[in-house]
């Protein structure tokens, strides 16, 4: 499971409608309080350190909050230092800095949780036990989501996770948070392609990269990213557009006025005729071909204006993949 899939699976536990996924935390009044929360704490050496849990759930009913750090893979070298920071978070930090709302702040209960793939749980358990970090470990496999180390301070929540949440017949929600800045390049490309097709259907003639970002990361998601993430994404999307304009989508997008010096402005062409279904189907086919080629890591075999001679084309054809 990817970190995004884990975040969606956790958020799904709070959904009002339980169809296909257990909403056990909704019954306890939990809601998704924050995603990508960022706040600072003071460590033992008096230095300011950032804590950045992936998702925070909070219940006013139970006066409780759960801070999840998700781990989709095995333990990394910087993990211990990261967990140490989590272990230093106090109730004061939760209320004052993380700004978790509570009707009774003095009695608020909070738990730092490491949420991992069950097959890697032992390495995380080992380090947390060895350092006596007050961090609960919840592991997920195909059958259940279960508390496997330490406990959750709120007793009803603890009981639920200790018993384990049965997900064997469940269908995890995947689209509550559709995409995050650290998405893989193929996934990112899919979202960019969909945004471009949407603009083509809308018969837009021109767009800037900045305008496109609101469409790729819709529902206000773009506005939630920090400046650094935005800058990185801007570059990623610019590269994807360049790639699209030189390969499968070359008939549909080009730099405005063919000006290489203004990579921010793009022109759309060959818009589908809204009365002709086949033209939409052709766009769908083009997307499938493009994404399939990227997934397989193959080179584009059609016309590429960057290839200046027949030798380069032959070189591409003979290259691996």
């Amino acid at each position: 499971m990817t970190p995004l899939e884990q975040i969606n699976a956790i958020a799904g536990l709070c959904m009002k409608n339980a169809t296909g996924w257990p909403n056990v935390l909704n019954d306890l009044g939990y809601i998704v309080e924050r995603i990508e929360l960022k706040f600072t704490i003071i460590n033992n050496s008096g230095k300011s350190r950032t804590v950045n849990p992936d998702i925070v759930l909070a219940s006013d009913k139970k006066n409780s909050s759960l801070f999840f750090e998700t781990k989709s893979g095995n333990i990394q070298s910087d993990c211990e230092e990261q967990l140490e920071r989590y272990s230093l978070v106090t109730k004061k930090d939760v209320i004052q800095k993380a700004a978790i709302p509570s009707s009774y702040p003095g009695l608020h209960l909070f738990t730092m949780i490491l949420f991992c793939d069950a097959k890697y749980q032992n390495s995380y358990k080992k380090i947390i036990s060895a350092k006596s970090f007050p961090i609960a470990v919840i592991a997920m496999n195909k059958k259940e989501i279960k508390l496997v180390l330490n406990s959750i301070t709120e007793k009803f929540t603890n009981k639920i996770f200790k018993q384990g949440i049965d997900i064997e017949k469940g269908y995890p929600p995947l689209s509550l948070i559709p995409i995050l800045p650290d998405a893989g390049s193929v996934q990112m490309t899919e979202y960019v392609v969909d945004a471009i097709i949407t603009l083509l259907v809308k018969k837009k003639r021109h767009f800037t990269v900045a305008q496109l970002m609101d469409s790729v990361f819709s529902s206000g998601l773009w506005q939630t990213f920090d400046t650094e993430a935005k800058k990185g994404l801007h570059n990623k999307v610019r590269t994807i557009l360049k790639e699209m304009s030189n390969t499968e989508f070359r008939q549909h997008i080009t730099r405005r006025g063919g000006n290489a010096k203004s990579p921010e402005e793009w022109t759309l062409k060959n818009h589908p005729d809204s009365k002709k279904t086949r033209q939409f189907q052709a766009l769908k086919k083009l997307k499938i071909e493009y994404i399939s080629r990227l997934t397989k890591g193959k080179l584009y075999m059609g016309y590429n204006p960057n290839q200046e001679s027949i030798f380069e084309i032959l070189e591409d054809e003979n290259s691996p993949g």
Binding site: T19, S219, I288
Partner: protein, 379 residues
């Protein structure tokens, strides 16, 4: 085409003229049970107009009407219309080359009425094949079975109803030599028709009975009558002795529909809201539960996202499990993104912010008439 209605410049003028047509056609139908040559019944198409632009409360309606005028000017060549302003800024007269004349009532600039006296074949062709397909701003109002049932319970008298079910065909089934297409079509007109609908719905005799049309009657305290035939694609046909009373029916349906669509958007639109320390999520998926496990699941998925009617969704399904599909789709009716998670037993629909709630009701209505008439909604 030469205009026969160009003399109508005001709302009162429109009401009086249509009222005279009401009385004339009522007389013809009463005397000879049929309309005279070239007589037609007044029709109203309820159309959703949504550019996705957001306006402040103050003056928002005027700006939306300006946006409607701009859009009509943009597409006038493509759909072949001439636009004439009237003295009322919320009433626009359009003439078409082949499809007759229509009046657009934009008092509610999001949910419009297109009134016409054109023949059904002409006005249907204009609305459904020209206007709605012209781009992404216009969409019909789509009345789900639940919406029509609630309407029937509320409205004065139900005189009749139709139910039609025409399932999407599983391609592998079609190739069998003994294949016989399945279709259910029931139509009843009688004083007890609504009682019979409720008695028959969900019985073994009529497992598939998705309500597609209601025929209702309303009588004023002065004994004036209006009858309306309400179709699930947002088309209404009126007759009786009072156009005013017919407008009351039309207007109340619009209010119900507007509340439904806006309510869906408020409850289910997914929004991400940034603050100083992170971001919050608002909204959640809309869930449709199928009454029976969908047979031919793969064919159903391929058909739903093939860009064709009735769904008009462009999407590339991604298989998560054997019976679990995720699709990031584009709703071609409105050129907006919409996300799905589908199993043979249920469907989750994620409505990104700024995507119209009309998409959800259109999808429900299509599923009811083509896939599962007894599906259940998360309401």
């Amino acid at each position: 085409m030469k205009s026969k209605l160009s003399h109508i410049k005001t709302r009162r003028g429109l009401n009086d003229f249509f009222d005279s047509i009401f009385k004339k056609t009522y007389k013809s139908l009463k005397v000879s049970q049929r309309l005279e040559y070239e007589e037609t019944l007044p029709k109203t198409y309820m159309i959703e107009f949504n550019t996705g632009e957001k306006y402040d409360e103050d003056g928002g309606d005027e700006k939306k009407r300006e946006s409607l005028q701009r859009t009509l000017l943009q597409i006038k060549e493509e759909i072949g219309i001439n636009i004439t302003a009237t003295e009322d800024p919320s009433l626009t007269h359009i003439t078409t080359k082949k499809f007759g004349e229509l009046f657009i009532d934009s008092f509610d600039p999001r949910f419009l009425f297109f009134h016409t006296l054109a023949k059904s074949e002409h006005s249907d062709a204009f609305i459904f094949r020209k206007l709605i397909k012209s781009g992404y701003h216009f969409d019909a109002a789509w009345f789900t079975v639940q919406f029509l049932e609630k309407l029937a319970e509320r409205i004065n008298i139900v005189e009749g109803w139709d139910a039609r079910f025409s399932p999407i065909v599983d391609v592998s089934e079609m190739q069998k030599p003994d294949y016989l297409g399945r279709r259910v079509s029931v139509s009843i007109d009688e004083p007890n028709s609504w009682k019979r609908y409720k008695q028959n719905k969900n019985t073994k005799f009529f497992e598939e009975l998705p309500l597609s049309t209601l025929r209702v009657r309303s009588i004023t305290d002065e004994k004036l009558i209006a009858r309306a035939r309400i179709q699930s694609d947002g088309k209404l046909t009126g007759r009786g002795t009072s156009f005013q009373e017919y407008l009351n029916i039309v207007s109340s349906i619009k209010d119900d529909y507007s509340r439904t669509v806006i309510g869906l958007e408020e409850k289910y639109s997914i929004k991400f809201i940034k603050d100083d320390v992170g971001f919050k999520i608002k909204g959640e998926p809309f869930v449709i539960k199928f009454s029976k496990k969908i047979k031919g699941f793969d064919d159903f998925i391929n058909s739903m996202f093939s860009c064709t009617l009735p769904f008009r969704l462009l999407g590339t399904p991604q298989q998560i499990k054997k019976d679990y599909i995720k699709v990031n789709a584009i709703d071609l009716h409105v050129a907006s993104k919409i996300y799905f998670e589908i199993t043979p037993n249920f469907m989750r629909i994620y409505l990104p912010d700024n995507t119209c709630g009309n998409s959800i009701v259109r999808i429900i209505r299509s599923l009811q008439h083509r896939v599962d008439p007894n599906l259940q909604l998360d309401e």
